[in-house]
Symmetry: C2
Subunit: 270 residues, 2 copies
């Protein structure tokens, strides 16, 4: 028993600060007064503040105050603000994942991207925290596990599967950031028009000269660049359109691999 605990501590020591906390590897202290707060409570309070007023509103003081404590009390639970941010990040990655796969693999991938993007929209601050490496926190890894599940019968090795997950995650991240920024612009009184650039159409039409921007010029003048007539866009939504191109690329690769493996079998049999 005590051996096990020592091991847990050792494992925690291998991980960067907050990650050990996210795995629950930090032993609750034995002596001293009973704790009045919990890590969960602090993280939830911080998330609530970030959701409402943005990441910049998350100060140790503000978080502590919202719980009725002083800033310094938080340091009895979480070593630094950076660790708090990491815990926030992992906490909002705890999303409900489907138990069963859709029959079409493309649908699985679409859902993978949609759910990932949703985190950015629900928690606009999520994308403001920089990536510091490969995911190693539990909820993040659960999403990856899901991705590996719906690709389990793909004719791919693990490197290829991981690479596809990275591709989809990256797409979800950059698209999620854009969606989020648009949402934020809308909420903060600005219009969708301002974000997509329609508000700047006039300025751009005056500034983008055909000599300096020969190929962009017509696109600005036609109003396509700033989406003056959103209903007219024949491809619909840029983000969905881009995802379909990525899925086409994946499909192409899968078919190539299938052919390859078919040949290998033939050679083995013949």
């Amino acid at each position: 028993m005590s051996k096990d605990k020592t091991t847990e501590q050792d494992i925690g020591a291998m991980l960067p600060g907050g990650a050990a906390l996210s795995w629950g590897l930090v032993k609750p202290p034995q002596r001293g007064p009973k704790r009045e707060l919990s890590i969960r409570q602090i993280v939830d309070a911080a998330i609530e503040i970030a959701d409402r007023d943005g990441l910049s509103a998350v100060s140790m003081n503000r978080v502590a105050s919202s719980l009725g404590y002083t800033a310094m009390s938080l340091y009895r639970y979480i070593p630094s603000k950076d660790d708090l941010l990491l815990l926030m990040q992992d906490a909002v990655c705890e999303v409900p994942l489907p138990d069963e796969d859709a029959p079409d693999w493309r649908d699985n991938m679409r859902l993978f991207v949609k759910l990932s993007m949703q985190v950015f929209r629900d928690h606009p601050w999520f994308g403001d925290i920089p990536i510091s490496g490969v995911p190693i926190t539990p909820n993040n890894l659960r999403v990856i596990d899901w991705g590996l599940r719906f690709m389990r019968d793909f004719p791919l090795n693990d490197y290829e599967k991981i690479s596809f997950i990275l591709l989809l995650s990256n797409y979800a991240r950059s698209s999620g950031l854009i969606q989020r920024d648009m949402d934020l612009a809308l909420k903060s009184g600005s219009t969708a028009e301002r974000f997509s650039g329609t508000d700047y159409t006039l300025a751009l039409k005056a500034l983008v000269k055909p000599e300096q921007f020969p190929f962009l010029y017509p696109v600005i003048m036609s109003g396509v660049y700033t989406e003056e007539n959103p209903g007219e866009n024949p491809i619909g939504n840029d983000i969905d359109f881009g995802l379909e191109r990525i899925l086409d690329g994946i499909e192409h690769y899968l078919e190539m691999k299938k052919k390859e493996q078919g040949k290998e079998k033939e050679e083995a049999n013949g």
Copy 2:
């Protein structure tokens, strides 16, 4: 002449703060003492500091001090720190673009992504500044103009071309961020191993249980997730691999459009 100036001011008023500066639309003041600094000088000094010590090191004080002035003097040139950041962003987007296209369109796209990614690697702080909307600063638009140039003979409408540029830019952004973070980890004494997760292999092997992570478990245990044996990765580089899948997807779409247009011509002729 004076009419022109008024118009320039008006255009500037339509754009958000820093953008007007980036287009050179803010008239230099006529009266008063000669300026000892210039916007260019300030922006360059800020970039130098950010390149060396990160975005968080860029304080008005630090920038001004490095030029031998006080923090407040900068406000005579640039209205706020946010505007300074926008100017920094646009400044580092001034990259040399090729005058001529490569014969293969895939090579053009590969270069587009490579050059875009390079900005993130050369200026690690670049990705720390959030996107606030469609690009409207001059150097940014020049890159888009280049993209439209090498797609000029594609059988696509402007919406589709812009969408492809967005797809490539997004991929470059997320990949650039990852590359940058890896570079930073390396420089800050950490190893590539730490970043890719090899340093955490032991911890992950102890934490990722087959019951909770049935599909991730074997990938962790084999060492593929944490790239224990980088030379063994049969697909080489994840980032290049992903880009090729995207290019495959684009190619697939182009071929579909070509067929479509071929049919339309047949119908028109027949």
